[in-house]
Symmetry: C2
Subunit: 405 residues, 2 copies
């Protein structure tokens, strides 16, 4: 197989150009359907046309670049919208890497590659809306009902799709054979290990609880310690007890986060009557995730019984893990070993991506490049240019392997 004749410098120039659209300091403000987002998508359409591809803008504002020719081809991309003030790469890297692959394939006559920038991945309205509607995971009516923080609906905002280009029907999922989403890691694992590439084998699932310990609010001066039913003391037992309860269940990639605490009445002079804590667990193994979920509630019940408190466990956000396509993962792993020998790893994605939606319709996989210091959703987000180029080479290698399989 012959790798695609990609041009990493051209990709980097395009990334620098895109960074200028909505630039704010070192960061970028390009929320879905903002003026900067529309300008960026108009520019992307121009690049698609210049590459000899057919641009398609659908009613969600998703932008596709489809090569001429028959039969399902590889689709590569991500999203070009950003957080309110995000970094310059995030999803943009996947879109521009996809553009470079599609451009190189088209110019060289190599097997066809299409590119996509999905809309509202970052959740101005609800998150991953463009890929959810396109893949059939969400109806257009449900997407339309989502609103942003100012009460603007997706239905109202997406009228601006026509400012990108005339709106038409997107090619359906079965117009494509597979999907690869390049993205920055958004975490510190690769950077800390000095590795250049992450081959994503699963997007982790999420299980969560709100655990509420209830005791008795009382005067902090007149209530002797043995007679207290102090909800914060329950919380203080729960946090280390949860670590101990999860330890035998997890592996090195499992995570759990106690991110939100609410104490009532939350006054220095009152023994706290109630304390709630969010427990969010992420793992790529559904059985392990369910075991962690059950253990977190069991642990809370044991702590409460021991501390003379009552406890309520209310389930929260729940998403099943999404395994990536094994054949695509194997291809990417082979290409990673060729382009970055022993400087890559197979890993789960701890964050949600458009690939979660697409994986329901197409073989899908993701490729990560390192985030310096693990920084993400922040103007300081960055990746070494050499790593961005290595990622492109791995993708080109894998695309050629896909065509030759």
């Amino acid at each position: 197989m012959t790798p695609l004749p990609i041009d990493p410098d051209r990709m980097l120039r395009d990334l620098d150009h895109l960074r200028g659209i909505g630039a704010q300091g070192t960061g970028v403000a390009r929320m879905a359907f903002s003026a900067a987002d529309i300008a960026a998508r108009r520019w992307l359409v121009q690049q698609i046309v210049a590459a000899g591809l057919q641009p398609v803008v659908d009613a969600c504002g998703n932008v596709f670049g489809v090569p001429p020719g028959d039969g399902p081809c590889l689709l590569v991309g991500s999203h070009s919208d950003t957080q309110p003030l995000g970094g310059w790469l995030d999803g943009a890297y996947g879109v521009i890497a996809g553009l470079e692959l599609a451009r190189a394939a088209r110019a060289s006559g190599a097997p066809r590659v299409a590119v996509v920038s999905f809309q509202d991945e970052e959740g101005r309205f609800g998150g991953v809306a463009g890929s959810a509607v396109w893949s059939g995971a969400m109806s257009m009516a449900d997407a339309d009902a989502q609103t942003d923080g100012d009460g603007v609906s997706f239905a109202q905002a997406r009228r601006a799709a026509a400012e990108i280009a005339p709106v038409s029907d997107a090619p359906p999922p079965d117009a494509f054979a597979a999907y690869i989403e390049p993205h920055i890691e958004q975490g510190p694992a690769l950077d800390t290990a000095g590795q250049a590439i992450g081959v994503v084998d699963a997007i982790v699932g999420v299980r969560s609880w709100t655990i509420t310990f209830t005791g008795q609010a009382n005067h902090a001066g007149t209530t002797p310690m043995p007679l207290r039913r102090d909800a914060v003391q329950g919380l203080g037992r729960y946090i280390p007890a949860l670590n101990a309860a999860l330890a035998p269940l997890v592996d090195a990639r499992s995570v759990w986060t106690l991110g939100r605490i609410t104490v009532t009445p939350n006054a220095p002079s009152v023994v706290p009557g109630q304390a709630s804590v969010s427990v969010q667990m992420r793992d790529s193994d559904p059985a392990r995730l369910d075991a962690m979920h059950a253990a977190a509630a069991d642990c809370a019940r044991a702590v409460a019984a021991d501390a003379g408190l009552t406890v309520e466990a209310t389930p929260g956000l729940s998403l099943d893990p999404t395994p990536m396509d094994a054949a695509l993962v194997a291809l990417l792993a082979r290409a990673a070993q060729a382009q970055a020998p022993d400087a890559w790893r197979q890993m789960p994605s701890g964050a949600l991506h458009d690939a979660c939606n697409v994986a329901a319709r197409l073989p899908a996989a993701m490729l990560f490049v390192p985030s310096i210091g693990g920084i993400s959703h922040n103007p300081d987000e960055d990746t070494r240019r050499a790593d961005l180029a290595t990622g492109l080479r791995v993708l080109a290698d894998a695309a050629a392997g896909w065509a030759a399989r």
Copy 2:
């Protein structure tokens, strides 16, 4: 010595009458200078006159009932203002017990007893304002500058003192020989132990910190556990570590409370970057209190160093312990053993009281009766009538002892 010819039933009838002024369900709403508070103080003035005592209403709205005669006499009382919705006893018990003692002393020709109801003990404006100004702990100008939640100043509100009775100068502290403040316990110690009387030997002091652990906020999905600097995990180590650090320093009456927790950014999907907790310690021994205070900060520093966090300890509310007068405490203890054999204890007051201010000027002590279930500042606050009567008998015994000493 002959006990005063007190009438417990008359005291209970007066308490029932006072409960009706500002009654709301089983509770009472009689905040300082509310219409109900003024009505209650007018009624108190009537009882003082009827008992043959001289009523004095000072510029703060403190109401004194002073017996005719020369030389310093015993002063007994507390406060008749309440929390926004408080219980029927709280300070009212001390005022009406004082009234009954003063009335019995006046009628019988026994050694003189005066009564007082201080103003704004409950802190509509700032707390213990009436006794603070009277004892010289606070200037009238400073008291006047205090405002309530609606922006009404003490200066504005206290114009209503003239509606109680013509305002005049209060008798100075040196017009009295000693002060005894009867009060409900406001905690569960006596009720839990099945005891009728608490002889207060000290009003505890307070030391406090706000402890703030700082780590690094991060994505809850993409940040592996070993790379996290999670402030809530620091808090989770601190709470049990503080218990362990204080254990060798405290006695059974020491208390510590972690009443307020603030987490940043406090979102389920973000590894928390910062977590603050209030640590309030109360004890009657100044040396122990200082040792607890130092240990709480040392423990936080040790936990932070171990958890890879930084920590800041900011001192908060600090009040020195107020020892009660040893001779008065001994008198009350002797009287308690006589009236409630082996059903009383010597104990600190965990709550602040007017006696803290008065103790700077006069020998002072307090007598507690049980709070059923430890409930206080609540319409469900209650004390068995037999215990209210026992408290009165102990006071009468001690007053006779005081006169005979």
